[in-house]
Symmetry: C2
Subunit: 431 residues, 2 copies
């Protein structure tokens, strides 16, 4: 079992253009190591970096108190922070789009307290302390603070969708926004992280309506950041669920190859790393070895940590996965694919994997998705089918491609292709 590191410099960081995406462009590790670890999509939430002290007027308890006053119609509190509300429908955040220097650029559809109240007035959803979920706070300078809230408006029906559509807002799949996000644009990267955090929290609320111990109804506490069973005999406190997943690039050191696999649900030609959920009673390193063996029959020796990424775009019953990325060194090379889990798994040479990275035109996919969001918000297209975005067909088709830089798999694979992995591993062997 081995260990290693990650180097995110102090949090607030966002990322970095695809054209600037260092893994894809610069082979120098010195550059990579810095930018690289700053780059995980959904990390770097600018309003979640710090939980404010409970005495701050923008902290969860203080904001909840202000919210209660607002709901009672007492709108003129001293030191009252500004409230912004992000609605979600079926796990999709409200988004808008603007064109900046001729390129569309999505943004989250924040509503003011009053606007949100007006939109929901004749719907099934109440704007109340039982529906609003505290997302965080941010300074607007000069001592002015904004408190951000999320709300699930799925029950509000299609009327609301039309009404918001009139304002050129649209509920957009988070995966579409993920692909559409311009990595050069720090603000967009921050908004993607906020949307991911909000989706996780709101889907968790849906998944934890009832107490697992007694079946009682759970109620919101701590401004929606926690829940509690309303049954007086139980009163169990419920915390948001975060499901750790190990994801590993299995490496055949001797023959300079990496193991890539396909699941049947992948789009055509896409190959990626192995991954799997933790079981209770095992370490991360044990999970890497167990999953690799179960899915491919390969024995893994040394396991080297790479980095971690929140992953809020899984199924709604798993609202927040935590991807923990590793390099795993194979001790045996024969592949015995578990066909219940994988469609295929193969060793690939460094050269082939490099091609798969180079040919995949992530930037083009980003523009396509961004254009789609723009059209949706303008009411041109309401349906969403993203699989076409992946089929970036510019002339010759590459035999395979790997997930874009929004996925930790891309970072693991790029690090191997560019020699970062071997530097990491040899540092440890020398110790």
């Amino acid at each position: 079992m081995i260990f290693l590191l990650s180097f995110t410099n102090s949090a607030a960081t966002r990322l970095v253009s695809l054209s600037k995406f260092p893994i894809l462009r610069t082979p120098q590790f010195s550059t990579m190591s810095t930018n690289f670890f700053k780059s995980h999509a959904f990390a770097g939430n600018p309003i979640k970096l710090r939980t404010p002290k409970s005495t701050d007027p923008f902290s969860p308890p203080s904001a909840l108190k202000t919210l209660k006053n607002l709901l009672l119609g007492n709108t003129h509190e001293p030191h009252s922070p500004n409230f912004k509300i992000l609605p979600f429908r079926k796990g999709r955040p409200l988004a808008g789009s603007v064109r900046e220097s001729n390129e569309p650029n999505w943004h989250l559809g924040w509503l003011s307290f009053e606007d949100c109240k007006a939109f929901l007035e004749n719907s099934e959803v109440n704007l109340s302390e039982d529906t609003l979920v505290y997302l965080g706070s941010d300074s607007e300078g000069d001592g002015v603070y904004v408190v951000y809230w999320g709300i699930d408006v799925t029950e509000a029906g299609n009327g609301l969708v039309k009404e918001l559509g009139g304002k050129q807002f649209c509920f957009v799949e988070l995966r579409t926004l993920m692909v559409a996000t311009d990595w050069e644009n720090a603000s967009s990267m921050g908004q993607l992280a906020i949307a991911g955090h909000a989706r996780s929290l709101l889907e968790w609320h849906t998944a934890s309506r009832f107490c697992g111990f007694c079946g009682g109804k759970n109620i919101l506490i701590d401004a929606g950041r926690r829940k509690q069973c309303s049954n007086e005999l139980c009163k169990k406190k419920i915390y948001p669920r975060v499901d750790p997943v190990v994801i590993m690039l299995v490496i055949d050191k001797e023959n300079d190859r990496a193991l890539l696999s396909r699941q049947s649900r992948f789009v055509p030609r896409m190959w990626s790393c192995l991954a799997g959920f933790m079981e209770p009673g095992e370490s991360l390193e044990e999970a890497v070895r167990r999953e690799t063996w179960e899915e491919t029959g390969i024995e893994v020796g040394q396991v080297v940590y790479h980095s971690s990424q929140p992953w809020p775009v899984g199924p709604s019953s798993m609202p927040c996965q935590l991807m923990v990325g590793f390099f795993a060194y194979a001790k045996s090379l024969d592949i015995n694919v578990d066909k219940e889990e994988l469609e295929d798994a193969k060793w690939h040479s460094r050269e082939d994997v490099k091609k798969a990275l180079t040919i995949a035109e992530y930037k083009k996919a980003q523009k396509t998705a961004s254009g789609k969001v723009d059209q949706m918000c303008k009411g041109v297209e309401r349906g969403q089918s993203l699989s076409s975005d992946f089929n970036v067909e510019s002339g010759e088709l590459a035999p395979m491609f790997i997930p874009g830089p929004f996925a930790i798999a891309n970072h693991l694979i790029s690090s191997w292709v560019n020699g970062v992995e071997s530097q990491l591993a040899s540092s440890f062997s020398n110790l």
Copy 2:
């Protein structure tokens, strides 16, 4: 929000042969890195390393089929594996004790299918496919396999306790067994890991009796390794919950000091690392920075991964925590303790921390706990109050001590004291 760890007053004590613990003894990293990472308590479960293929006779589906036949009285199946059952009561596994070379040595209280059936005959607990939980399988050589099951017998009442007591078995707190475990004894370490895995699964079953989505009753599937809502309109599949916790040794590189903290529930004189649960929407590295800031006001820069450990000895509502250990390098040094979370936090010199490690007599604590298990199993002592074990008073009292090597905190702190940490960090800085 604050976080747990091992060391509550009520909790058990500490362990292990100080003289044999490689971090404390050998300064060569080459030795350390191997022994050290093998040594996390609760990892290395010998029957959980691999999930057998579903076609194997000792796999969960095959074993479940055999179990159903056994319950119907068809005991003579071809290729039928041997079944061993471990009962738990209020989260405590059944244990026995033997004396080997004059030292007591605990072991898990595995019962045969027939014995367990006999013990439970007149109780409130049925031995059935709805109460038995598959724990794993192991080879006994010559093609003979054993399948291990866990069962919660809390509802069976005190009669069962007396009956088992007559056989010199006793339900012992897992924390007591953790401290009592002899780290030289691979079999005991393996049994501790099995007990931890079993406790996590059984407590999760208690915590997930009802579906969070609809309040319906959940039923066991996959031989108790998963659950599913019995409501035909819902049918949500439920996976065991694993709650990731970051634990970090914050280091002041310039002044060669480390930050240790105390929670009010710690036993006197004990200091440890900071720790905290993940929130949805953040990476592990972000959680390290957020928690450190929230609890102490210290800004953290670089974050370096160390290792991970399953931690099944928290409260029953959090049946499986996953401790993920990091070194965190301070960018600011002023401490502003959050008194809601911590009693105190202070910078300590390497020399002082070294003393705290040396003086704590983990081996003595291990012997004391082991002797206590022995007495309990012989019926000498039924109650458990382990707090006295902490006050290992051999002459002069040390000003402080740190948790024993069963806790990842000890490994983080030892690695820093012995210079392993600086080697890790500098390797990465050179990249």
